[in-house]
Symmetry: C2
Amino acid sequence: MEKDFGNFQGILIVGLGLIGGSLALSLKEESFKGRIYGLDLSKDRVETGLRLKVIEEGFRSYEEVPWENVDLVIISTPVKTFDTVAKTLKKFIKEETIVSDVGSVKGDVVIRLQEILKPNLFVGVHPIAGTEKEGIENARPGLFKRARLILTPVKDNREEVRRVQKLWEDLGSLPEIMDPHLHDFVFASVSHLPHAIAFALVNSLIELSKEFNIDLFKYPGAGFKDFTRIAASSPTVWKDIFLENKENLLKTIDVFISSLNKLKDAIDREDEESIIRILSESREKRLSLEN
Amino acid sequence: MEKDFGNFQGILIVGLGLIGGSLALSLKEESFKGRIYGLDLSKDRVETGLRLKVIEEGFRSYEEVPWENVDLVIISTPVKTFDTVAKTLKKFIKEETIVSDVGSVKGDVVIRLQEILKPNLFVGVHPIAGTEKEGIENARPGLFKRARLILTPVKDNREEVRRVQKLWEDLGSLPEIMDPHLHDFVFASVSHLPHAIAFALVNSLIELSKEFNIDLFKYPGAGFKDFTRIAASSPTVWKDIFLENKENLLKTIDVFISSLNKLKDAIDREDEESIIRILSESREKRLSLEN
């Protein structure tokens, strides 16, 4: 199909961080014909965005934006600010403008946002992409190429949802539609739980280093580095994600601790058969993933 | 210093797996002048070793080995078999032959082995290298290049320890001497605990997938793949390691669970300050590692 990026003429990216910046760069790289505007309350980020040519036009206040040209707004600020951003947007956007986001928590958030923004349409989007680096200075085109992307529409506006989906398809990502609450359970399991574990693991090694008066971090094996790479992720971003997806996360932490205790008990009992069973199940499942 | 590989004339590698095979290949690659012998009870592994030119001479029984030519034996079988291997070796080795290993558990193991092998010297060695792949078919030269390596001698035979150390230095690895029990605590923390966590994490996602009737493994983010890569490690190898280093591992699992519970409680209380503190400590520490 021809690349039309959902036929949007003017896209405003609110929040110029790693994801917002990478989105702007990707649109440019893929020859999006419309205008790309950036809005961020921080002077620094707007200036960096302009200097690094991530955005062509940048604004530091909602008042400056040429709203008549904007038919898609993509919120890429921290999840915690979404309500405030949506309430402010509501005062400025045209009737037919679609609002979307790139946040990693959906569930109640998207339902709240749709409520705030109605009659405008809100289409929740979660690109499964990113790095542990943050900031517009780390933005890169191609971040969304061959990356999965979840759309979590709450209203049955197929045509508009299809346009947002097409935009992301034309950037090379692989969209899928999912219920917003199911989305939050899935990502609590495969992303938020592993992050919580990585943070806790590094913390426990800090603890053990103190207790035994040795710097354990002098001895990181290769596996350990992979394992804790995500523990260098942004504390603010992850604090917000953990709190926004609290119920799901607490549930998955409990299931994980119970799995770990099962393994621990088998080791304590020296029950070789159970240990092998637990390890083999895990190995088989992991090997079934692509890489 | 000149490469003399500790002046060993004949090295016998007992156990032709990933590490034993990679050691043989590395010695050849680095132009070790002596003989390299391989011994494995499995016909398959000996044949694969010969076919892939990992070893030049391979034996399937201790009786076939030209023991008069062997002045260094390196045990690279699973840790669980060490006692049996040492008892058998004792019947064959020359008086001056040094025995060493490449196992990832030291502590009581090396003390037991020295006791079995005396008056011959045993020098415990743990190369911090390896992959989640196993088997001689995955062996590769250069596996130990720039890799840390821990020597855990129990007897004060500096000259012999220095020779073993020189061998590994000449293969490009970075040796360090450590008390065998401290070694086990350190590697329980930085390697065995992360492996236990990775296995338990994959198991908990299998559990959650069943409970919620969705295949969570369809949605692995990049971080998740890194994180669980080590969950594909060999169940037999890791069952043995977990049991050999049981006390240290159980202790570190407890400390980790307590760290995770601290984070969980902070999330449950929505105590933003504590969450940020926990995440920031972890981030700073992780960023201080080289990569």
